[in-house]
Amino acid sequence: MQWNKQDLDQYFTAEEYIDTLLIPLIPITFTNQKEMEKSAAQQETGMIFVREMEKHFKGRIFLLPAYHYLASGDLGAEVSRLNEWAAKANERPFKHVFFFSFDPHWKKQERNLNGTLLWMPAIQTEDTQSKETQSIIKDQVNQLTGLIKTYW
């Protein structure tokens, strides 16, 4: 399910079945061209990843709009904010919360997050449309969906 009216209508007919929340974590930076391009590319690929996961598991995963934050080496403040999100979301019958990110700084905070971090190294690519990239993404998405299944 996605955060739009049509999916929400369906969500409320079957709330108890959609027990998994997926929140993409996407850093934004203003430092220089190179870093900004990298961050933009990560957001593009990241959204492809989470949308593909949602497509596989539409009836069980609720995909939230991305959580954006200023890129930083210390994400402590973001952790408490995210945990607030997770706590609020748990007022709905969600049993699992997954955070998806390419940003390695989350790794350090993994223990403090009230949810499961799905982290993977960003794939460097110029062109998300190329056949090669597509098959890499498909393959990685399969691994991720396989991983999510083990939590159910």
Binding site: Q10, A14, Y17, I18, K55, H56, F57, K58, G59, R60, K149, W152
Partner: protein, 169 residues
């Protein structure tokens, strides 16, 4: 080919309406009406399009996953969407092309997706199951069988079109 023309007219339409902030606001207010009243081309254009996906001779009795791409156009976006079907020949040699979208809540089912049921379609979300024919297995969550794709065969090639639910088949 008519698609190309529609694209141009849509772009023009956007250019005209979106000129200036006033135009933008008007577009916002008018959009719902415009979409239905003026230009049928603005509605999802994928309806009714058939796409060549595979040589018929390559299709066996084992359901096999086929992916292909279509261009989907709605009022504001044009995008390439990947479609998926499970395709096989039934015992009479007729093509069966099933939608992978689970009729419970829309997850993607896979053939033999669960080792315990090697000759059924399986939905990982809530253990929904379907027989090879696409009929839902009673006492699993799906309320009905998988949708069929409409298909055509031209010169030995399989073309797949829109899906239709069983009730209308």
């Amino acid at each position: 080919m008519s698609e190309k023309r529609q694209q141009v007219s849509r772009r023009q339409f956007l250019n005209y309406t979106l000129t200036g902030v006033g135009g933008f606001m008007a577009a916002g207010m008018l959009a719902p009406m415009v979409r239905f009243a003026i230009d049928p081309a603005l509605q999802a254009s994928s309806k009714g399009d058939f796409k060549a996906v595979e040589d018929v001779e390559n299709i066996t009795e084992e359901p096999t996953r086929i992916d292909w791409e279509i261009d989907q156009v709605d009022a504001w976006y044009e995008s390439t969407v990947t479609k998926t079907a499970w395709v096989y020949k039934d015992e009479n040699g007729d093509i069966v092309a099933l939608s992978p979208i689970c009729k419970h809540l829309g997850c993607m089912v896979t053939w033999a997706g669960n080792d315990d049921y090697p000759d059924q379609f399986y939905c990982p979300c809530h253990d929904g199951r379907y027989y090879k024919s696409g009929e839902n297995v009673p006492n699993t969550p799906p309320p009905e069988g998988l949708d069929f794709y409409e298909y055509k065969i031209e010169d030995g090639t399989l073309l797949l079109g829109p899906t239709k639910p069983r009730g209308e088949a």
